[in-house]
């Protein structure tokens, strides 16, 4: 089974402030079946940037063998990635990690998908797949400000969608947790991805619920070999137990790892 290949860029454009949408295709896409998994991208072949960049799978079209990624232009690597043109190829390793468990939610149940900023992308394919399984999906998407909002329309097409901005310039004002409370959103399962403070707030509020959190950590290998991305295990007295975000995660059930 191939695990690394050169995918061809079909589409590459800015969809919000500093947020790019990247679509590329190749046979490797056939394996990208689990929402919440990530790809490890080599942004180019020059030797000044050695490490790959982990980017979540936002959506896949298995027929067309096309994968969509959304990324924020942050540092050196994503800046360089953003200059890639349609037709160029990009070295993709993956899919990697364990994604969101679809089977945790039964047909007819309600899943609340809560995303923060650049944690929103992996929820999109998750929502699509849950919906296809007959799950009722609700989305709460948090952003800094109006200019950072993306994919609202796409999520709306799948189900109820609340957009929240920290500064109130678009949608509700505040944090995702505020909206969940104010709107009295009820759910059977919550799936979330976003900045650690957001994950912590959700974990504290819903630790007794079916909650799955997708974590972020700086990575070396992305495949479990280098021990760069470990986190502690909840309740481990020895302090030596760990989970690797790259292979055991990035998605963990609430209560398994220390955020």
């Amino acid at each position: 089974m191939i695990k690394k290949d050169w995918l061809k860029i079909n589409h590459h454009e800015t969809i919000a402030a500093n947020i790019m949408e990247l679509k590329c295709s190749g046979p490797l896409v056939k394996q990208m079946t689990q929402p919440g998994q990530f790809l490890h991208l080599r942004v180019d072949t020059s030797d000044d940037l050695l490490l790959r960049r982990p980017i979540s799978i936002c959506d896949v079209d298995l027929e067309e063998e096309t994968v969509t990624m959304l990324y924020r232009v942050e540092g050196k690597g994503t800046k360089r990635l953003s200059s890639k043109q349609i037709g160029e190829k990009i070295d993709v390793l993956g899919p990697l990690g364990n994604g969101f468990p679809l089977e945790a939610t039964e047909r007819g149940e309600t899943a609340l998908l809560v995303g923060g900023g650049i944690g929103v992308p992996p929820l999109y394919n998750l929502s699509k797949q849950l919906k296809k399984r007959g799950v009722h999906v609700i989305h709460v998407l948090g952003f800094q400000s109006k200019e950072n909002v993306f994919y609202e329309k796409e999520f709306l097409e799948l189900g109820e969608t609340y957009v929240v901005t920290v500064d109130g310039t678009y949608g509700e004002k505040g944090f995702v947790t505020d909206v969940i409370k104010e709107k009295h959103l009820s759910f059977d399962t919550m799936y979330t991805c976003g900045p650690t403070p957001m994950l912590s707030a959700l974990q504290n509020a819903y630790s007794d619920r079916r909650l799955f959190l997708s974590l972020e950590e700086r990575m070396g290998c992305g495949v479990g070999a280098c021990f760069a991305c470990v986190c502690h295990v909840v309740g481990d007295e020895t302090g030596t137990k760990y989970r690797k975000v790259c292979t055991d995660g990035p998605v963990f059930p609430v209560g398994e790892v220390v955020l």
């Binding site: 030797d47 050695l50 700086r218 280098c226 021990f227 991305c229």
Partner: protein, 309 residues
């Protein structure tokens, strides 16, 4: 007819390529990518007497043509390695180099005594870049006498050949190399990482939670080549060379500098297939260079007798 095999103390390698310690875990992960028997050997992650979690994250940072790591020797400890990791590796016909770390001599001795008796451990690699708690935190690898003492004690208990892995953070690598050779080392591994740091401008804090970390990757290659060139001419024991190797050309450069085999570290992260790719590319590179057997390259930058020109 093999043109790539290399015979080193304890290590009968089908080619001179091994993944470097700490960059390949205990082999399980990369076994999903290719057959580990393609490799000349495998250097497994440092083992300490007790299990360790290591440093808080972030543990890695990228630098220009390099990376910093401060994993902090996370490992399941001697017991864990012996019961869970090494038995799993037994199914592969490939020699294992067990990297041993510690904070005082007794740790190294205990770990080596036990690990070296495991069937598939063919050599011990002594990681002397660790600070010695008993000597006020001085790194074992920076003081010739301490490095030699450690080597001697470990050699006393080891059932297999011992390679001492030198730290490049010294003024005179030759002095250290000679000291550990005299103390009985069967070989040297060089180099370990250079101590470095990167600061996050916005947070005004080091990116690594540990502050400092080890610099690896192509950035350090010229330092590795220089040190191997210096040392290989004055010791009689073989050197496993490492530091920034990414290609078959890099392997040749290390061997010309005086290495008898090499280890590939950081490059595994850039490309998980890097080791088998290098191994595959070596024969045609040897053809191009007019070299029959890879061992003809060893020390070729100063041994004129080997040059075909």
């Amino acid at each position: 007819m093999s043109r790539l095999n290399v015979e080193l103390p304890g290590l009968s390698m089908r080619n001179p390529i091994m993944p470097a310690s700490g960059c390949f875990g205990f082999g399980k992960e990369y076994a999903n990518y290719y057959d580990l028997e393609l490799l000349g050997a495998i250097a497994i992650k440092a083992t300490t007497a007790e299990a360790r979690f290591g440093n808080p994250t972030p543990r890695v940072a990228e630098t220009t043509a390099g990376m910093l790591n401060a994993i902090g020797l996370q490992n399941p400890g001697l017991e864990g390695v012996m019961t869970n990791e090494l038995p799993w590796l037994e199914k592969f016909d490939v020699p294992i180099v067990a990297n041993v770390a510690g904070t005082e001599i007794a740790d190294y001795v205990e770990t080596t005594a036990k690990l070296s008796k495991i069937k598939n451990v063919h050599a011990i690699e002594l990681n002397i870049s660790c600070p010695n708690v008993k000597k006020g935190g001085i790194t074992f690898g920076t003081v010739p006498e301490i490095a030699a003492e450690l080597t001697k004690e470990v050699k006393n208990v080891s059932a297999v050949p011992v390679y001492v892995k030198l730290s490049p953070n010294v003024a005179d690598i030759v002095e250290i190399a000679k000291a550990v050779e005299r103390a009985g080392a069967d070989g040297l591994s060089m180099i370990n990482t250079l101590l470095g740091m990167k600061i996050d401008l916005r947070r005004r804090k080091p990116i690594l939670s540990n502050g400092y970390g080890g610099l690896s990757g192509p950035a350090i290659k010229p330092v590795a080549i220089r040190m191997i060139h210096q040392v290989s001419q004055v010791v009689d024991i073989p050197i496993i060379g490492m530091g920034g190797i990414q290609t078959a050309e890099d392997v040749v450069e290390f061997m010309l500098a005086g290495a008898s085999a090499v280890a590939v570290g950081t490059a595994n992260f850039t490309d998980p297939y890097v080791c088998p790719t290098i191994i595959e590319e070596l024969p045609s590179l040897l053809d191009e260079l007019g070299v029959e057997h890879i061992t003809d390259l060893i020390g070729g930058s100063y041994k004129t007798c080997n040059v075909h020109s």
